[in-house]
């Protein structure tokens, strides 16, 4: 089975995604944007319905809706009466509800909701693989191009801005890149697990890293290893592909965090 074309395509797609997700995932972790990304991803279901209704590739629908929801989040974030966590809670659930309603209203044969929620890594086509590699290369190029300002904003936003970094511009480009990555990755790991692909390997790499670039490299390696092990697991015990990859990387992250927590006193209450 391992040498079947569909398995090789899954492997290529997974490895390509691991490379693209690594730098973005690190910035999501550094800037505490995990739930921001989660909410944007969740809105993808509306995009799926949109894509199906308009008879086009759902990736475009997901991308459009992801950008829209990101803009809405930034807009709501300007008010100061309700915290960002509540805004995320609102949009997260609103997006899921709207997505389920939208897919239910589609005419024609019933939609395979589970397929979109959890993805189907073994169903990726040669075109999907091409999209991942071409889109991924563009995303990586963009991240490399704005690496320094991104890092400076992640260290201290106000300091970077006072030193002349254009916060609005860099932030906006980063969110667009995040939306692109979510839209592309969604086919493989599904709407519910797409952020895991970004966040979990970065979390696993953090305790083992002492500088940002090595953390990105380690993140990519952990993600790639998880893709290999997850697909092998999937082929061996016939478990779903995407969730198998996610469970492998989650186990690595759990071990890594346990290692970081050893010998430390009780955890502080979680902020934000």
């Amino acid at each position: 089975m391992i040498f079947e074309p569909f398995f090789l395509r899954a492997l290529l797609a997974g490895l390509g995604l691991a490379a693209v997700a690594a730098p973005l995932g690190c910035f999501v972790v550094w800037q505490r944007l995990a739930y921001f990304g989660e909410t944007v991803a969740q809105a993808g279901l509306i995009g799926v319905a949109l894509g199906l209704a308009l008879h086009m590739d759902v990736t475009w629908g997901v991308l459009a809706v992801a950008l829209l929801v990101a803009a809405l989040l930034l807009w709501f974030g300007r008010q100061k009466v309700v915290g960002l966590d509540s805004i995320l809670g609102l949009l997260h659930h609103a997006a899921l509800a709207a997505g389920v309603i939208a897919t239910s209203m589609l005419k024609g044969p019933p939609v395979d909701l589970a397929g979109f929620l959890f993805g189907d890594v073994f169903a990726v086509t040669a075109t999907d693989v091409t999209v991942i590699f071409v889109g991924g290369a563009l995303v990586l190029a963009a991240v490399a191009w704005m690496w320094q300002p991104l890092l400076r904003l992640a260290v201290h936003e106000e300091l970077a801005e006072a030193e002349g970094v254009n916060r609005e511009k860099i932030r906006t480009v980063f969110i667009v890149l995040l939306a692109v990555a979510i839209a592309v990755a969604m086919k493989i790991v599904g709407i519910l697990l797409v952020m895991a692909f970004l966040v979990v390997p970065a979390v696993a790499a953090r305790p083992l890293s002492r500088d940002p670039e090595r953390m990105v490299l380690l993140t990519a390696l952990i993600a790639a290893g998880s893709v290999l092990a997850g697909l092998w697991l999937s082929a061996t015990v016939d478990s779903p592909g995407g969730p198998s990859i996610v469970i492998v990387m989650s186990i690595i992250a759990g071990l890594s965090l346990s290692w970081a927590a050893r010998g430390r006193s009780a955890a502080r209450p979680i902020k934000d």
């Binding site: 550094w30 320094q148 400076r152 260290v155 300091l159 006072a162 030193e163 002492r210 500088d211 940002p212």
Partner: protein, 292 residues
């Protein structure tokens, strides 16, 4: 040093403790004065209103090259807001500002979250986005007395260490204006005095101007060329020596008056209503605050 007599003295009215002692009121009277072409930053009539409340009212000031200006005022007086405007992080609703074309700011922010989720060594932090070489970084760390933390993670530093590292980064930019927003927060008394001495010494060597925000006056006074008291508007601005010569200085800066707020409050000839608007008093010595 130009400017050492305070902002636009000609247009000012005397402070409560008597004219000619260097502490003059601006009250925005000079907001129509032309920009000081020599100043690093020249601001006229700055005003900011947030949620219906005036944060800054008609603030005018000049910061001359090599000058150490200390900005004091109670919490919530708009000190940080003014700094954000001067740094260009916030646009004022009213007024105008001119920054000298060659202005290069080194900034030490008030809060530097050391609970960093980002892995980064001190050395890397100091090199980030700068042309500086390793040797320059090592020298600068020596200057701020933080050589020992060069290979440590920024998230693992103590408050005082982090402060000096952030100061080193600001200085590595070779600024002609160093802006520090309450740099002594979380640093003990002697650490604060050391920090101010260090900044003063570095200023003498490198010749940059300094804008220092503080709500603590007794340590700041010695090194400052000029003190600006802010409570949404510029209450009082003058040379620290002049303030120090005043009879109330001893009373205010004595061991009992370690906390320095009262310091300039008693120099005022007006009080503030709940909206922060100034109200003059009939008698210059009666500040209406029940001074014993």
């Amino acid at each position: 040093m130009p400017q050492s007599e305070g902002v636009a003295a000609a247009a000012s009215v005397p402070c409560g403790h008597g004219a000619g002692r260097g502490c003059t009121h601006s009250r925005g009277a000079d907001s129509n004065a032309p920009f000081d072409a020599n100043a690093l930053i020249s601001a006229r009539g700055l005003g900011i209103t947030r949620n219906g409340r005036d944060q800054l009212i008609d603030v005018s000031l000049d910061i001359a090259p090599r000058e150490i200006v200390t900005l004091i005022g109670p919490n919530g007086a708009g000190k940080s807001t003014l700094v954000r405007v001067l740094l260009g992080l916030e646009k004022p609703d009213r007024g105008k500002m001119q920054r000298r074309a060659d202005l290069r700011i080194g900034y030490v922010p008030q809060r530097f979250d050391s609970d960093a989720v980002l892995p980064m060594t001190v050395e890397r932090f100091l090199a980030l986005g700068m042309e500086g070489d390793k040797l320059g970084i090592m020298r600068m760390l020596e200057q701020v007395d933080a050589s020992s933390v060069r290979h440590q993670q920024i998230g693992e530093l103590s408050g005082g260490e982090l402060q000096r590292v952030v100061l080193a980064r600001a200085l590595l930019r070779q600024p002609n204006l160093l802006v520090l927003d309450e740099p002594a927060q979380g640093v003990d008394y002697s650490g604060e005095a050391d920090l101010y001495n260090l900044i003063g010494r570095l200023r003498d060597e490198a010749g940059f101007g300094v804008l220092l925000v503080s709500h603590d006056l007794h340590v700041v006074m010695a090194r400052s060329d000029r003190v600006i008291c802010l409570n949404h508007h510029v209450c009082c601005s003058g040379m620290p020596e002049a303030v120090a010569q005043h009879p109330s200085y001893a009373r205010l800066f004595g061991p009992q008056a370690a906390h320095a707020f009262a310091v300039y409050r008693h120099h005022h000839d007006h009080s503030h209503d709940l909206a922060g608007m100034p109200h003059p008093h009939g008698s210059p010595d009666d500040d209406g605050r029940g001074e014993p």
